[in-house]
């Protein structure tokens, strides 16, 4: 323990010397003068007069790397752009990147390192629900701040997390309403990978179909993660002839699912399908020709036609290559650093409690997906869009809903 004290003393001494030096050097920095570090950072975060440390915690290796790389890229792009504008309260963002390695305990370990050891002011990170569940106790214990980009199952609300993707009701209900109206659909076949997000989404979907749409669910099927055998499911679908297949198949299974559907003759001319798990990233693997004509319900598509999105897509491609595609989660990840910047500036402080309190109510007007508002429950009010997939792997937006408030604990859908 005594070394801890000594270490703490050395740190404090170092910080003091650093602060004196910096004060001499950076008198031109208006922000630093208006917001002295001692005032904007009262809880010992890694914030100096010129920099603020922010963590990025995604899987750069392992099976999830293919999905999470887009998020890392989007977050780094946003941080570069923020730094080019002068940073947050005059402080440049320094990134500390850690690899969760597609392994949930590693996520927890790295989250702890970022918060307890590096004292980062905020973390952009996680992708799967499992990794978020693993780090959640760490963020609550250390009072950290996590910006989580993935659309997910809801049933969670932590003061330490801002959810920049949609929770399940935002994604499910408006999409079902649209397809029921547009395609006069009455019978639905639900299929998903077997884990918490598809199961929760399907639970909400079933309740909504049966109660509010007066339709019926003719089949509900879950397949193990990574499974590639869809023969028997496809036979059942052929037998039941549902108006709509409602799908939440993820990962490697997706490729097999769409290819086998096509091989069985169930392409978009014969069968309507709405999926909630396919973004531009997945289409890259599945191949546009295998799912042309099917629909996805997402809050963002790369093809969206607005100035903010055009700028975002152009700069993303400039930084990460012309071939890169941007899916729903990548865009949501891009919002994280911008929301954090806005929150700190509204709070006039980096202190986690103040940042948490300052963000709800904020409207990010120039998000690529269109304006979004942060709600009290730390989720975003967004619109839902239905995209119809084209052969080139891009989606044509055929429907845009009104603003949908997030409702992570939906009543009547439990």
């Amino acid at each position: 323990m005594s070394t801890l004290n000594r270490r703490g003393f050395m740190k404090a001494g170092g910080a003091l010397v650093g602060a004196l030096l910096a004060a001499g050097l950076i008198t031109t920095n208006a922000f630093a003068a208006d917001f002295p570090t001692a005032k904007v950072n009262t809880t010992g975060l890694a914030v100096t007069d010129t920099t603020v440390k922010v963590g990025i915690l995604h899987s750069a290796t392992g099976t999830m790397a293919i999905s999470e790389t887009g998020s890392i890229q989007a977050e780094k792009l946003a941080i570069d752009q923020i730094n080019a504008m002068g940073g947050i309260l005059g402080r440049k963002i320094e990134v500390i990147q850690e690899d969760g390695a597609s392994d949930w305990p590693t996520f927890a370990e790295k989250a702890k390192k970022l918060l307890a050891s590096d004292k980062v002011a905020a973390v952009m990170g996680c992708w799967t629900s499992a990794s978020r569940k693993a780090v959640l106790p760490v963020f609550e214990k250390e009072n950290g701040l996590l910006f989580y980009p993935t659309f997910y199952e809801g049933l969670e609300q932590s003061k330490n997390v801002f959810y920049t993707g949609q929770e399940a009701t935002q994604q499910v209900i408006a999409g079902l309403d649209w397809i029921a109206k547009e395609k006069k659909a009455k019978t639905f076949y639900l299929i998903g990978s077997d884990y918490i997000w598809p199961r929760t989404s399907m639970k909400i979907a079933r309740k909504h179909i049966e109660k509010n749409l007066k339709g019926s669910v003719v089949g509900e099927e879950y397949i193990a993660l990574g499974d590639t055998q869809f023969g028997s499911v496809i036979n059942k679908i052929k037998l039941k002839k549902p108006d709509v297949i409602y799908a939440a198949v993820v990962g490697g299974s997706n490729v097999a699912w769409f290819k086998q559907l096509n091989a069985a003759g169930l392409n978009s001319t014969k069968q309507t399908m709405l999926t909630i798990s396919v973004t531009e990233d997945e289409v890259l693997g599945i191949g546009g020709e295998n799912l042309a004509g099917f629909y996805s319900a997402m809050k963002y598509f790369q093809s969206q036609d607005n100035p903010a999105n055009k700028k975002f897509v152009a700069e993303f491609k400039k930084k990460w290559g012309a071939k890169s595609v941007i899916g729903d989660v990548t865009q949501a990840a891009y919002l994280g650093p911008w929301l954090y910047k806005a929150a700190v500036e509204r709070a006039g402080s980096f202190d986690v409690d103040k940042v948490q309190a300052a963000l709800p109510g904020y409207e990010l007007k120039d998000a690529p997906e269109g304006p979004v508002t942060v709600e009290k429950n730390h989720h975003l009010t967004t619109k839902l869009r239905i995209g119809q997939w084209q052969k080139d792997g891009q989606a044509k937006v055929v429907y845009t809903s009104g603003y949908i408030k997030p409702d992570p604990f939906p009543k009547g859908y439990q």
């Binding site: 990147q97 850690e98 307890a116 499992a130 918490i196």
Partner: protein, 386 residues
């Protein structure tokens, strides 16, 4: 009394080795690193239980189990179930459809606590289950395998298959087990918050004491007549059998002991890390644990602990410094160790220091074999030896 104590720790050399390890765990590390890093070390040391069990099983018994994650997982899940039930009291879970059951059960439309969760409401029963269930499971596997004289590579493959089956079972039955998410958000044991700094220190020391205890137990076993038989079975199983010993019973026994030691590690893991997931049960962690043991030196109980610490330290440092390259660096580390130091850290120690006395004891019995520096080719054969 004094003589038997000396025998227990393995003479003067063994006593020094053990004292150094204890000093490292109980004095040097707690003073030298902050609580965050110490908690990480505590986590690594829970893997060391498995590495120690593999020294017993593989290094000395010649039984290569590629499924020790099974027992680590069973121990860890036992503790996690207890802590999850404690965290799921009806008041904190009142938002659920069925209050009072773990949240993941509620998400999976389960409305009643499954029968096999009930014993885990009691701490004494949980501790009993953590020790007994893995031992029973090991007994059944061992009985089925060793009685039929299944050994060597076949045994390794079967343990690996069982590890895979168990992890698929856990992932598949997510309503009952938490699925791929595992059992998360564990906070207290009998009302004691395990997430505070003071609790982390206490758990770290408890963990260290249990680990030293496991090493002493293992030393005791290895230094007994049974330990001699174990070595004899490893090197010439037929000869032991023809001498009138029931080889399979000895093998079942050591397999059960190894399972229990691994399970204690698993339970301590859950306590210190705060959750358990199927990623500790499957094939990859099971093989990783064999690697820890191999890096440390599969003949040396203390070496196994150092091996575990070194590999995990490397993992943490590399992945913090090079988030996108670290796996290659880890691969490089393993290749280096296997190519240049086939007997791991303990082998390096042997090369430069005197032989550890408790191992030298056996060289009287089997001069040509029991030297603790095992030739390289013998490592490759090990699996086939049993």
């Amino acid at each position: 009394m004094n003589a038997s104590l000396s025998k227990l720790v393995g003479g003067k050399q063994g006593a020094i080795g053990l004292a150094l390890l204890a000093a490292l765990i109980f004095v040097v590390l707690p003073l030298g690193v902050d609580i965050f890093r110490l908690n990480l070390v505590g986590k690594y040391l829970t893997y060391a239980f498995v590495a120690v069990s593999l020294v017993l099983l593989w290094g000395n018994g010649g039984i290569l189990s590629l499924g020790q994650g099974i027992f680590f997982g069973l121990g860890g899940y036992g503790m996690a179930m207890f802590m999850k039930l404690e965290a799921s009291d009806p008041i904190t879970t009142k938002i659920q459809t069925t209050p009072g059951i773990p949240d993941f059960m509620d998400w999976n439309q389960i409305t009643e606590l499954p029968w096999f969760w009930h014993p885990f409401q009691s701490l004494p029963l949980t501790i009993l289950a953590i020790l007994v269930i893995p031992a029973l499971f090991a007994y059944f596997i061992g009985f089925a395998m060793f009685k039929r004289r299944v050994g060597g590579v076949y045994f390794a493959i079967i343990t690996q298959a069982i590890a895979l089956i168990l992890s698929i079972l856990i992932v598949g039955q997510q309503g009952l087990t938490g699925g791929v998410n595992g059992i998360t958000d564990l906070k207290t044991v009998m009302g004691w918050d395990t997430r505070t700094d003071s609790a982390k220190y206490i758990l770290y020391y408890v963990n260290g004491i249990l680990l030293i205890g496991s090493i002493l137990l293992s030393k005791y076993i290895l230094n007994s007549k049974f330990g001699m038989l174990l070595l004899a079975m490893r090197d010439k199983e037929e000869r032991v059998r023809f001498s009138g010993y029931d080889v399979s019973n000895f093998k079942i026994f050591i397999f059960c002991v190894a399972a229990m030691i691994s399970a204690v590690g698993g339970a301590m893991f859950t306590l210190q890390v705060g959750f358990m997931s199927p990623s500790f049960v499957g094939i990859v962690p099971s093989i990783e644990m064999v690697i820890f043991c191999a890096v440390g030196g599969r003949m040396s109980l203390i070496g196994a602990v150092y091996g575990t610490l070194l590999v995990n330290y490397g993992k943490t440092v590399f992945s913090e410094t090079y988030p996108e390259l670290w796996l290659f660096l880890m691969g490089g580390l393993f290749i280096t160790v296997v190519m240049f130091f086939p007997n791991g850290l303990a082998g390096i120690y042997e090369k430069y220091a005197k032989k550890i006395k408790f191992l030298r004891k056996f060289s009287d019995a089997q001069p040509e074999k029991a030297a603790d520096v095992v030739p390289t080719n013998e490592i490759k054969e090990m699996g086939a030896k049993a």
